[in-house]
């Protein structure tokens, strides 16, 4: 009950935050975002036609009126239609967010699990061979350009210059019309193609994020290892493995979980632009990139708003997780 009340209280407190985020985002989009007028004009535009396009886009409305309209869209969660394609913005999100999520999730899970594991290994052998090896690997992962890794992995795993195991680009198509298969065959079809298309983006993403995760997690764990209780536990003869997992890891979980949960909104909404672009994955990252470059304001507004809302939820979730990790934490002031 205490947790629920806390969550509701946090939600109410987050309203001004959301208000501020939307105002800043909207102001930036209106004043610094691309002006779509000149992209939508034909080759031989007349001044009248420029005025018509601006009227149709609502650019001739005063700022306050436009912002109020935007707030109405946020409240009703109806962002209208994309200016470029005419498709309903909510249907664009419904179509693309699950794809980005499906692409990012395996890498997100694996890189965090591996990151914690390698951090434990490095911290446990602090200053030793394993620590140095893991840190060298982490620094390499952090230093090499993401773009280069994408290109290299694509060449190694997807092309005839390399192993040629996976497709270069693409995403799961619906099963062909002629398929007259049962549920399990269709499920197998989707499962097969899902892993086929997601494997290399996942490996790429793991390679890139593992370095950052490992370094951060290691720092947290090393700090915990310096605490008195660790020395005491060891003095009592508790095994090193048990000390690391049961005590050190458990007590380091708060910053680790915070980092993991806070990055969730970006996994869900922001997608992974570079991966989606290079691997031809029709996720929300690609749509957002196109919307920004095309000046498709309804789509950009929806993505910004959804990210802000999810971020607020992630913050609340983090606080709830604290309580689960450490029941001594109280939500009362």
């Amino acid at each position: 009950m205490e947790t629920f009340q806390y969550a509701v209280r946090k939600l109410i407190y987050s309203i001004p935050l959301l208000f501020g985020v939307t105002l800043i985002a909207f102001t930036l989009m209106v004043y610094f975002g691309p002006d779509l007028t000149y992209s939508l004009l034909g080759k031989n535009a007349s001044p009248e036609q420029i005025a018509e396009v601006q009227r149709e886009l609502g650019y001739d409305q005063p700022f306050v009126q436009r912002y109020l309209m935007f707030l109405k869209e946020v409240v009703t969660f109806d962002f209208g239609n994309s200016i470029s394609t005419g498709e309903e913005v909510t249907s664009i999100l419904a179509r693309t967010v699950p794809i980005s999520f499906a692409v990012a999730l395996p890498a997100f899970i694996i890189s965090n699990i591996l990151g914690v594991g390698l951090a434990l290994l490095a911290a446990y052998h602090r200053g030793g061979f394993w620590d140095k090896s893991v840190m060298i690997f982490a620094v390499v992962g952090m230093s090499v350009s993401y773009l280069m890794i994408v290109i290299a992995f694509q060449i190694i795993f997807c092309t005839t210059y390399g192993l040629n195991w996976f497709p270069v680009q693409g995403w799961i198509d619906p099963p062909p019309d002629y398929i007259d298969a049962g549920f399990f065959e269709i499920a197998y079809y989707y499962w097969y193609y899902y892993w086929l298309y997601v494997a290399v983006p996942t490996l790429t993403s793991i390679f890139v994020s593992l370095g950052y995760n490992t370094r951060f997690f290691r720092a947290v764990i090393v700090e915990e290892l310096n605490r008195d209780y660790v020395r005491t536990a060891k003095a009592y003869g508790i095994g090193n493995g048990k000390v690391m997992i049961k005590h050190v890891l458990k007590n380091s979980l708060i910053p680790i979980v915070t980092r993991i949960i806070i990055s969730l909104p970006f996994v869900i909404i922001a997608g992974n632009l570079v991966l989606e672009k290079f691997f031809g994955i029709p996720g929300v990252g690609l749509v957002t990139y196109d919307a920004i470059t095309n000046g498709d304001l309804p789509v950009v507004k929806a993505v910004v708003t959804c990210t802000a809302i999810l971020y607020v939820f992630a913050l609340i979730l983090t606080d709830i997780a604290y309580k689960i990790i450490d029941p001594r934490i109280s939500y009362s002031k």
Binding site: Q49, C158, P167, P175, G241, F278, G295
Partner: protein, 603 residues
């Protein structure tokens, strides 16, 4: 805990490797599938013919929708042929009334927008409706300029509120299959405009049924219907209602001397569309596109990335592939149907037209000096693999009014002569104006600027006086150009139809910014000639006047021109396809893949 962790990791690892070892689902049947996959460098945003303006959009739109006319597949120079039209139009003696007839019994693709989902017959009233949509601002149309001021009553219809129930004097449906178009003054390019994607026959039912999402749900009577569309690809499937049409090699303009190597003979007599399915993949990353093409079982046709051209080809003009690639691919270099050029903003008195006759004279000499410093050969070598076609003036070689006799000196750099022009104009390092070179903020554009600044330094132009002005996107750049804010304007122009009028109008005074005359050139004599020629039917007399206007541009120097870019394309040996850029649209219906005889590495 540790045990569980290791088990989880092992399970995830195993899951990742399983697809490599498992049998591809339904693979036996899939290989029979009749799909041609290709990728350009851009992607269509809309498939609403009223708004579809890019080459990528045009390719898809003209495959789904019918227009009155199209271009013969293989004829060069381009030649029109009827598409939905029953023949070429009858034109009244005064050149004001065009009568078009369309084929009977043509049906739209089946779609839920029609009663019982069955596509109805195409009638000329659909074209009238479609043209009204282009003049209705609510649709954010891009094609209005094509017919603005041309068809009797159409502009007035728009001015009075775009009421669809109102008739337009110049658009008269004589019956369901006959349309009479009355123009305000002779408009010889009208027939060309009716081959553009903008002139597609759109059924009203689809527009009303899909509302704002009509652009994603195109319904036409063309050879293909849209099966699915995402930001990644468009899948087109044969329109089952498509009329019975067969490929006629000779009629399409086949030239055995230049085209025999493509293997086009196999198409003769085949029913159109030849492939059941076509996939347009949208890959903006050139390396991804190349990897996908090179792989063998993904896309079948695409462009060689500029960075890899020398790795793949042993010779570029004409394209000759290295043996390893020649085993796999056929290839050709294909010139754009347009050109790139750099204009001076003639509305800017520092460099363009000036009220003071003396300054006007000196400005012209300054422009001449800059043109003389502009090294097209070097630009071609550094940025276009030396594949571009350089020509003096603004009429590119593939147009009939192109003048091959113009001296090459107009496009050859000569720093000594450039310095002489500066001297003749009394220009010194101290009094030279600051030049602002406008571009979008891309690496390539900025590199081109640096090259340009280097040339000007060679003629004594102080480095600090050649200034880069960057814009975040092409939209921003375009806005600045349309508002006459940019002083030096690098531009590209894709021709809409093979008539030199389409490039000469770029320098017609009344077309000044925000119109297409971005140089804001305004020469009364040129304007007079343009007005005279725009109502003239093609003739040697018109060609002569076109060439005269071209020479005027060379003399007045409102622009430095020009070069037609050339792109190297490759496709697998089992693919039979002859690509062409604008103004061609509906090419996909001719694409063919030979069964059984696959290229190396193909599935």
């Amino acid at each position: 805990m540790a045990k569980k962790l290791i088990t989880s990791l092992a399970a995830v690892g195993l899951l990742l490797t399983i697809p490599c070892g498992c049998k591809k689902p339904f693979s036996d049947r899939e290989q029979d599938n009749n799909v041609f996959r290709f990728s350009g460098s851009g992607s269509p945003v809309t498939m609403d013919p009223a708004a579809a303006s890019s080459t990528y959009e045009n390719l898809v739109v003209t495959s789904i929708y019918d227009q009155f006319y199209e271009y013969k597949y293989l004829a060069r120079p381009f030649e029109l042929k009827p598409k939905l039209a029953a023949g070429m139009p009858d034109v009244s003696d005064d050149g004001l009334v065009y009568t078009f007839r369309i084929k009977k019994g043509i049906r739209y693709a089946d779609d839920p927008c029609f009663p019982d989902g069955e596509g109805r017959e195409v009638v000329v009233q659909d074209f009238i409706f479609s043209l009204k949509r282009i003049f209705d601002p609510k649709n954010l149309p891009q094609g209005e300029w094509v017919w603005r001021g041309k068809i009797k009553g159409l502009d007035e219809w728009k001015a009075t509120g775009s009421d669809y129930s109102q008739e337009i004097e110049g658009l008269k449906a004589v019956d369901d299959y006959t349309l009479q178009i009355t123009v305000n003054e002779p408009f010889p390019q009208l027939v060309y405009t009716l081959a553009m994607g903008y002139s597609s026959f759109v059924p009203r039912e689809a527009v009303e049924h899909y509302g704002k999402e009509f652009s994603l749900n195109p319904v036409g009577s063309g050879p293909y219907a849209l099966k699915s569309f995402t930001t990644r690809k468009a899948v087109l499937a044969k329109n089952e209602n498509y009329r019975e049409e067969y490929f006629d090699l000779e009629y399409e303009g086949y030239d055995p001397e230049t085209q025999a190597w493509v293997g086009l003979e196999v198409l003769d007599g085949k029913r159109i569309p030849i492939m059941d399915n076509v996939e347009a993949h949208f890959m903006k990353e050139s390396m991804t596109r190349w990897n996908s093409l090179n792989k063998g079982n993904e896309i079948h046709f695409g462009k060689i990335p500029t960075a890899l051209t020398h790795m793949v080809a042993s010779q570029l003009k004409p394209l000759k592939l290295k043996p390893d690639y020649a085993k796999k691919f056929k290839g050709m270099s294909l010139p754009d149907f347009g050109f790139v050029y750099m204009s001076f903003n003639m509305a800017d008195p520092r460099i363009g037209h000036n009220q003071d006759p003396e300054r006007d004279r000196r400005n012209r000499l300054l422009r001449m000096a800059i043109r003389k410093a502009f090294d097209w050969d070097q630009r071609n070598q550094r940025f276009y693999n030396d594949m571009g076609i350089i020509f003096p003036g603004i009429i590119p070689p593939r147009l009939d009014a192109h003048d091959p006799d113009l001296p090459e000196s107009y496009v050859k750099a000569d720093y000594t002569q450039a310095r002489e022009y500066l001297e003749a104009g009394g220009w010194t390092a101290e009094n030279l104006p600051i030049l602002e070179y406008g571009v979008t903020a891309t690496v390539l554009d900025i590199q081109m600027f640096e090259q340009f600044r280097g040339w000007l330094e060679k003629i004594g132009y102080p480095r600090e006086k050649v200034v880069l002005k960057t814009y975040a996107s092409f939209g921003d750049y375009n806005r600045a150009v349309k508002q006459k804010e940019v002083m030096l304007i690098p531009m590209g122009w894709n021709l809409d139809y093979p008539d030199s009028e389409n490039v000469l109008q770029l320098f017609y005074g009344p077309n000044q910014s925000p119109g297409s005359n971005t140089s804001n050139y305004d020469n009364p004599e040129f304007n007079k000639l343009f007005k005279q020629t725009k109502t003239m039917q093609p003739s040697p007399e018109r060609t002569e006047l076109y060439q005269k206007m071209n020479r005027m541009i060379l003399e007045d120097v409102p622009t430095i021109s020009g070069m037609t870019r050339n792109n190297p394309y490759v496709w697998y040996h089992n693919v039979v396809y002859y690509h062409s850029d604008s103004p061609h649209g509906s090419l996909l219906k001719y694409a063919y893949m030979r069964p059984g005889s696959t290229g190396e590495g193909m599935n």
